[in-house]
Symmetry: C2
Subunit: 404 residues, 2 copies
């Protein structure tokens, strides 16, 4: 059996994701589709719209065969750490190839860029630092630095967010000496950050979330951009748990945490560096919403994403020393769900997996998974039902005939 | 000028308190009435119904001339620590006498009891420990132990809550070699813990609070038990800040704090002893309200009050080492409010005060007051307006002609 791996957040799953899955399967001639998916908190430092369980169901309904959780120490991090965690999981699960979406869509350009960057690493690092000192963002600084070194090779444009992420995957595959083949699919329409709907069937997850939170718009508008299964799961979630998740729901808790903490205590929190703790403390007393809070502390140096990530770590009380316990690669495969085909693959291949496979939380007694559990508890603050699920929810077995 | 001191919580101020003030003034022939009052969190480990500022106004409207805050490290503690803090403040403010309410009402019996207890201390401690081991509460154990030693002296019944507290005041006066005279007034009707109204004009603060939180009863019912000024301040508070304060309002924050903490971290919290941290952690996930939470961890050994106090310290993140920084007596006099007479007294006497007088928080740069500030921030979580007041509120000057 040949498995292709994808690295996803599915916040929520939409037609663009479905397109990618279909193309990935075609391009790699795979029988099995494995997704490694962020848990309840995401790379940009945000709570997911709906829990990882519901997002797993969306993925399985759309043809993914196995969903593993990308653990918290990788999911809420900068692109390189995120990529290393995800690649290590797909490699450990014996994926034949890794397929990601990108603005570029040309796999040889990714390989060339990786080779080129490694070759000129020292020279580039100096130039990147210069650009960043001048106030340019990291992706932009890398792109600018690249332009200053002439080459005949066709390199990718690293200022595009999905190219940058893809490059990190390729780099992680190299670094980890993973045997996975690389495949990339050109993304259709919709930029990552688009807030408006711009096509008839493809929309960014950002614009879909915006529509879901909008009090003005009818949520039915998203129907044209997501599979019907996604739509049903979203509506069912709202009905069961009362609401979708967003930062503002957690703001009172973040504020409380800040009001009861000293600067010295905050310094132990991961990503709380360079006096950020004092900015957090003074902004907390003034701000009346999470949006206002971040607006108050945002600078050129502290981007919105960086501040959101620090806020997530504060919310989950993630200490620096806890993060340091984790290496650059994952330590377990937490199974969130599987299809019938996925089950066959697991039964056949699990003995060859490089990492322990966790189906039941209670059977994995290790401090290594503590941050995942804490993050789920905090995510579930709003709902006791949700809180219980972290401990009692079995991996989802998705059978086409019976579910939704 | 002759000042009489009272030790109060005024949660809220009622006719019983007014009766005590009048009798205290008569009995001591004082021109000035000074109250030392708990801040926003009280001795039984509860948030006060309304902020310390509003409770100060109630006191001034009822004839108190000066209100000092009993700092957090004394206000949220067992009777002996509470008493020592309060007595040290009244002594530092040059009070001529201390007057408290008690079930007994006979000052010579208090002196006799204090003398007797100190004389037989060793013998009594052994017996008290025996009774407590058998599962009896501390006040009851003291009362039982006393009965086993025969004497001709008339001793007070220490199983009555106000006798016990009064005894602690008398004992603190002795210990601190305070020159204050002791005076006690027999309490009228209404037991401390009464939840029902049992007289026409005197009701316990407990029963008044119960009526205020009741959805069934009209709040007008309390009018007969409190001065009209108290009633107005209560109604104004509810209008300004939305609601009265009670534990259930803080429960989501306490739960969040527990969900994001490890047992090791909780052990640093004051009063978190003997494995209590593990009981707290497991109860937090199950409970849906503060009431449910305490019900789950309550045992003979861990009384409701003890658990509430530990919960307050957890809510304010009060560490053991922070509490240890404070001695047995207070370190400053935080002025919450004063009348015209109070102003004259302050002007005349403040140079003789044994402790620094704080009128403006910003002029007292000391870590010593950090816990008071943090407690007020946490208390004010529900309201930004309330939060600002801790820093900007000047002591209240109450002039009979202008206020309410």
């Amino acid at each position: 059996m040949r498995a292709v791996g994808v690295i996803v957040e599915y916040n929520p799953f939409h037609n663009g994701h479905a397109f990618h899955l279909q193309k990935a399967k075609e391009a790699t001639d795979a029988d099995i589709m494995i997704a490694v998916m962020s848990g309840n908190f995401l790379q940009r430092g945000e709570p997911a719209l709906v829990s990882k369980w519901t997002r797993t169901k969306m993925a399985l309904a759309a043809g993914v065969d196995i969903v593993f959780e990308l653990p918290y120490p990788f999911a809420t991090q900068k692109a390189d750490t995120f990529a290393n965690g995800a690649v290590s999981i797909l490699t450990a699960a014996m994926c034949h190839s890794l397929c990601f979406g990108s603005e570029d869509g040309d796999v040889s350009a990714f390989h060339a860029t990786d080779y080129f960057l490694k070759k000129h690493d020292h020279q580039l690092q100096i130039k990147i630092k210069q650009h960043m000192k001048a106030g340019v963002s990291y992706p932009k600084a890398v792109a600018n630095a690249l332009q200053t070194i002439s080459t005949n090779e066709k390199l990718i444009d690293l200022s595009k967010p999905n190219n940058m992420l893809g490059y990190q995957y390729v780099s992680a595959v190299q670094e980890q000496k993973s045997s996975m083949h690389i495949c990339t699919i050109k993304r259709q329409n919709a930029d990552y950050h688009d807030e408006q709907f711009s096509s008839e069937t493809i929309a960014s997850a950002t614009s879909i979330r915006k529509a879901l939170f909008s009090k003005m718009e009818n949520t039915e508008i998203i129907k044209q951009y997501v599979p019907i299964s996604t739509y049903h799961y979203l509506m069912k979630y709202k009905q069961l748990y009362g609401d979708f998740h967003q930062w503002e729901n957690y703001w009172p808790f973040l504020k409380f945490k800040l009001l009861q903490s000293t600067a010295k205590q905050l310094k132990h929190i991961y990503e709380m560096e360079e006096g950020l703790e004092n900015r957090f403390l003074s902004a907390a007393e003034e701000a009346n919403s999470f949006y206002q809070f971040i607006e108050k502390i945002k600078t050129k140096r502290y981007t919105w994403t960086r501040l959101q990530r620090a806020s997530v770590h504060l919310l989950t009380n993630t200490q620096k020393e806890e993060m340091m316990m984790h290496g650059k690669t994952a330590e377990y495969l937490r199974l969130l769900g599987f299809s019938k085909n996925g089950k066959t693959y697991l039964n056949k291949m699990k003995h060859q997996f490089h990492l322990p496979l966790i189906s039941k939380l209670s059977s994995f007694k290790s401090e290594k998974i503590a941050l995942d559990i804490r993050a789920s508890k905090i995510f579930a603050l709003s709902s006791r039902k949700l809180l219980k699920e972290e401990f009692s929810h079995p991996p989802i077995f998705y059978d086409k005939r019976t579910q939704i």
